[in-house]
């Protein structure tokens, strides 16, 4: 498009020549959705209109208890040590970041007084600094005032390798300075178009300097606040039993009006997803349960005449089958799937395209994930402005057969195709998870009909996702021909999501398989596109680059995207949870209430 035209319009809004609403309407006229148009404005440097909060209660408290059921309970309550979402969710009841992502992928100010923009001077024109204005008058749970010092300290704390914080990568390549008591400036080394990573979302939670300063670095494990957090959040800490229970009580001095609604909050852990769904939807023992990885069929039956419902939030999580570019069965220098090999079967584009044709995404969506998934041809599925419209997918056994026939793969006596003595037999691995095993069964059957034999393998998730160098079954070693899993998008920006697949990131023995490019796909065009996008400040051009990157992945069939997965929760019927596909379930917990 119309780069210049769009930029002119954005400028128009910026200096007041054009009304925001008019801009958004014109964008909608061009076929964009309203949130998308808002986003273009936001990234283009226009102050974002505060997302209209539907919060109704008119006074603080009085809502009784809020009972949450997480089928994995939080094991620690320091957000910067949080390895899993469960820990982030638990910490987030007490700690708060500057801002969190709302359902549309917009920033919602929490500790920030306003969201930085070019207009309010928060964003530097060169993209190398961001200035956050913080709310005055916010107090820690122990009554001490919250100031810019706490934010600077949080950066120092997470950035110190001796602290062993998992959030270190978020704070590593930047500097944080205090401007005044309620202003903080973040400085980047190079232009950073996606500036909203530090101090936003799960790893953005601010820690109280006055309590933790003595426990920075090597002593981080000894801090009493690790077990009894003191934050600024809507609930004050009451009780914590690792893996079992987190309990909080209302913070009467909370900094947002009329919030929170509930008097106490309880997060119970343990069990499995199906029984969690039962406890919320069927018996109403609990108000909300997280991450309902349950077949839609089961959820639908539970919802009939039940006391609860399921709720969904769209983000960018993608469930895919990755195709190995290297040969997992040949060992070179003590390494299988070595970059010195090419895959004997999958190096033929026809085989790759045939496999893409044999994944019945519609059936997987309809019969396994149901409302929790959307079929997609793309690896990159959100936010909407980054989603390619140039791609397509279909399921057709006939076309796959024809493709293979034309490429010279002829069926043998056992029905398995072969060419030059190489049989179309492949190993298809994934982690253990009931829906994944069913997807495997569906794909295997379609492949069988087309003359491709798949051997299925499933690996315990903790082994599959481990970084254990000695283990052959990890996803990053990829000692199989195909593998399926999900990669989440934790923020509404594709930079980190797409950077994985540049050639420099290939997983090899030399980097202890820590490279994130596990399909070991190498494409010079892709490298160039990603490199340009990293520092491209122009939002429209940048979106175009990521769309191009997605299309390159699609052209080479690096992945067969199975489903664009949604976040699913189970909620009591009268509960109004605020969840976002771009944030943790408790990231907007201050806005939850019950309709009476």
């Amino acid at each position: 498009m119309r780069d210049t035209e769009l930029r002119a319009m954005i400028d128009g809004v910026k200096n007041g020549r054009m009304d925001r609403r008019v801009f958004i309407q014109r964008m909608i006229g061009l076929g964009l959705s309203a949130p998308l148009a808002t986003q273009i404005l936001a990234i283009g440097g226009v102050a974002m209109a505060q997302s209209p909060s539907p919060y109704k209660p008119t006074k603080r408290g009085g809502g009784g208890p809020l009972k949450l059921l997480w089928w994995q309970g939080p094991t620690l309550l320091n957000p910067h040590f949080a390895t899993g979402t469960k820990d982030q969710d638990g910490s987030r009841l007490f700690y708060e970041p500057f801002a969190s992502w709302d359902a549309d992928g917009n920033l919602n100010p929490i500790l920030a007084a306003e969201i930085p923009s070019t207009q309010n001077g928060g964003l530097a024109a060169d993209g190398k600094s961001v200035t956050w204005k913080l709310k005055p008058g916010v107090k820690w749970h122990d009554g001490k005032p919250f100031t810019a010092d706490d934010a600077v300290f949080t950066w120092e704390y997470a950035n110190d390798p001796a602290t062993a914080a998992v959030s270190i990568a978020v704070y590593r390549d930047l500097k944080v300075e205090k401007v005044d008591d309620h202003t903080v400036r973040i400085l980047f080394d190079k232009p950073t178009p996606f500036w909203a990573n530090a101090f936003v979302g799960a790893y953005g939670c601010i820690l109280p300097k006055h309590l933790i300063a003595d426990y920075k670095g090597g002593k981080s494990r000894e801090a009493p606040t690790n077990l009894a957090p003191v934050g600024t959040g809507p609930y004050k800490f009451a009780e914590f039993k690792p893996g079992d229970l987190v309990r909080g009580v209302i913070n009467p001095d909370y900094h947002m009006p009329n919030r929170p609604y509930f008097d106490t909050v309880e997060m119970k852990g343990g069990g499995d997803a199906v029984s969690a769904a039962r406890a919320v939807i069927q018996t109403g023992e609990y108000d909300y349960a997280w991450n309902m990885q349950v077949e839609d069929e089961v959820l639908l039956r539970l919802e009939k005449g039940g006391k609860g419902k399921t709720v969904y939030a769209t983000g960018g999580d993608i469930e895919f089958i990755a195709l190995n570019s290297t040969d997992p069965n040949t060992e070179v220098d003590g390494e299988r799937s070595s970059m010195k090999t090419t895959h004997p079967l999958l190096s033929d584009p026809a085989v790759r395209k045939a496999i893409a044709l044999l994944v019945d995404r519609d059936a997987v969506q309809k019969h396994i994930y149901g409302r929790a998934g959307l079929t997609s041809a793309n690896y990159l599925n959100g936010p909407p402005r980054f989603v390619s419209k140039n791609t397509s997918w279909e399921f057709s056994i006939e076309k796959a057969i024809k493709l293979l026939d034309d490429a010279g793969w002829k069926p043998g006596s056992d029905g398995v195709r072969a060419k030059d003595g190489k049989k179309l037999k492949m190993l298809y691995q994934t982690s253990i998870n009931a829906p994944r095993q069913k997807t495997q069964a569906i794909v295997k059957q379609a492949c069988q009909k087309a003359g491709i034999e798949l051997e299925l393998k499933s690996v315990v998730a903790s082994v599959f996702f481990s970084s254990d160098v000695a283990n052959p079954d990890t996803y990053s070693k990829f000692y199989s021909d195909l593998e399926e899993f999900q990669i989440p998008m934790t923020q509404p920006d594709p930079a980190l999501h797409m950077k994985r697949y540049i050639s420099a990131n290939v997983a090899t023995k030399a980097n202890k398989w820590q490279g994130q490019n596990f399909p070991r796909w190498v494409n010079k065009d892709y490298d160039k596109v990603i490199e340009t996008a990293e520092t491209e400040i122009d939002p429209v051009k940048r979106a175009g680059l990521y769309i191009k990157a997605n299309d390159l992945l699609w052209e080479d069939t690096v992945f067969v995207p199975v489903l664009h997965r949604l976040k699913v929760g189970a909620s009591a019927k009268n509960l109004k949870p605020v969840i976002s596909g771009w944030a943790n379930d408790t990231d907007n917990i201050q806005d939850w209430y019950r309709e009476t």
């Binding site: 253990i432 095993q437 069964a441 569906i442 059957q445 051997e455 299925l456 499933s458 315990v460 283990n471």
Partner: protein
């Protein structure tokens, strides 16, 4: 008091026709005979079933998901519309084979260790009991993960994917369940070896091996047989746990335990899915148990019928 009994008259009778004598006693146990027939039918069904019921085990049919029993699917279908009868037949082979083989491993190893420890009065006994304590304390899951990771590929290469996994599973399940048998057998041996009839045999110059095989072991078999039958059930279920952990057969192999596990979340929607594998395991366990009872009656040296 205890052990006033001398070697009972049956010992004499056994001397001229032990095998017929055993068979005569076994036949007197009606349930044992019925059970033997039942188990035979079960085994025949899973071995020859696929020739009669020629439906594929993994044909997915989304138009027929979670259906109750019907003519087309006598045992109904699962949530992918796969035929449960075919899956039960196929899975039965594995489950029965794994159950029986693993039971044999645990009973044989357990009896051997227990008997040796019960007869030995020195370091060997202590050593074997240490080994038993060690195995009792080993956390099974990490050990399983480790064993599978160490030996899976080697066994696969040596015996093929199915055979290798089968051997591994049988050894793993049997190898982790022999300890109670060993302790039970040892306890029985400690008590029995001091009994008069054993002393009598010893006085008559019976070698230790003969004492064990002819006199002590037959009297110690009661708990072993019970443990054996419980092990069959436990092995069938343990196999499903293994495959659920990705350590057993490939995920699309429908064993009885696996079917039961998959069905559990659908218990209130389609009970038939759980009913058939559950009943099959139950029938197999009951049959094996009564056969065990009958065998014990047949082997019981002291019992006169």
């Amino acid at each position: 008091m205890a052990g006033l009994t001398l070697a009972s008259p049956s010992a004499e009778r056994r001397s001229y026709s032990p095998r017929r004598e055993m068979w005569r006693r076994y036949r007197r146990h009606k349930l044992a005979v019925v059970s033997a027939v039942l188990l035979f039918i079960l085994v025949t069904a899973v071995v020859f079933g696929p020739f009669l019921w020629r439906v594929s085990i993994n044909d997915i049919d989304f138009n027929a998901t979670l259906q109750g029993p019907s003519l087309a699917h006598p045992f109904g279908t699962d949530d992918l519309g796969q035929d449960l009868l075919a899956r039960m037949i196929y899975g039965g082979r594995i489950s029965l084979a794994v159950g029986l083989a693993a039971m044999m491993v645990s009973v044989i190893v357990g009896t051997l260790v227990g008997a040796l420890a019960g007869m030995s009065r020195g370091a060997l006994g202590h050593g074997l009991m240490w080994l038993t304590d060690l195995f009792l304390s080993l956390p099974q899951l990490p050990l399983l993960l480790l064993l599978i990771y160490l030996f899976r590929d080697g066994l696969k290469a040596a015996f093929g994917p199915e055979g290798g996994i089968f051997i591994l599973i049988v050894l793993v399940i049997g190898g982790l369940r022999w300890m109670p048998v060993a302790r039970l057998v040892r306890a029985q041996f400690l008590s029995l070896r001091e009994k008069e009839f054993v002393e009598a045999a010893r006085a008559l110059g019976a070698s230790p091996l003969r004492q064990v095989v002819r006199h002590i072991l037959p009297n110690a078999l009661g708990p072993v047989i019970i443990a054996g039958t419980i092990d069959v059930a436990a092995a069938i279920i343990a196999e499903s746990t293994l495959s659920f952990l990705g350590l057993g057969f490939p995920p699309d192999t429908p064993t009885w335990g696996r079917l039961l596990f998959d069905a559990k979340d659908y218990l209130d929607i389609s009970a038939h899915w759980a009913l058939f594998p559950g009943a099959a395991i139950f029938i197999a366990v009951v049959a094996i148990n009564f056969i065990g009872d009958g065998l014990r009656d047949a082997l019981d040296a002291r019992r006169v019928i």
